[in-house]
Symmetry: C2
Subunit: 99 residues, 2 copies
């Protein structure tokens, strides 16, 4: 089954308690699908069905009038697409683990 590398970036308005709750929920959902690489940026490797599922879960959480959610499909994969510098939290589980 084809899998896509995707990027999820979000800005949630945290001026209210409800906003803080949305922020935590968004991060928790993203955690189920991939890895946090920056405070509000997650990288995930998902099937199309998982992408649709992730998107609908996130849409059920955010307040579209105050929050911003952007999902980018990285065609060609993250290794071709990405130039990472400085702190890098990402662990590539598809790479052989050297023990």
């Amino acid at each position: 089954m084809q899998r896509f590398d995707i990027l999820v970036t979000y800005d949630v308005a945290i001026t209210t308690k409800a906003g803080l709750r949305r922020l935590r929920k968004v991060a928790t959902v993203c955690q189920n699908y991939g890895q946090r690489v920056q405070l509000s940026v997650f990288e995930c490797r998902v099937t199309l069905a998982q992408l649709e599922q992730l998107e609908s879960e996130l849409l059920s959480i955010i307040d579209p009038k105050n929050d911003s959610l952007r999902i980018y499909v990285l065609y060609g994969g993250r290794n071709r697409s990405l130039r990472a510098h400085g702190l890098d939290r990402y662990v590539d589980f598809d790479e052989p683990m050297v023990l």
Copy 2:
């Protein structure tokens, strides 16, 4: 000349005054190349030479031990890659402006 849609995302450690200065500088540099779409996310449409220039300018600013900088080339372009929801600041200057 070929132009690429790219994404610049960053986390700058703002626990010090120097960090706050780096954050402002990073945003200012990114503003010269594209549009802020979220607090720490910019979309730019650049030539390869501009991408290299942008990257080196940003590398001259960030503290690699404390900050994270990620540049993603969106192969296939942003329109194919992006699913945007909620607040969306992006203005597509390549689209005809309806007055």
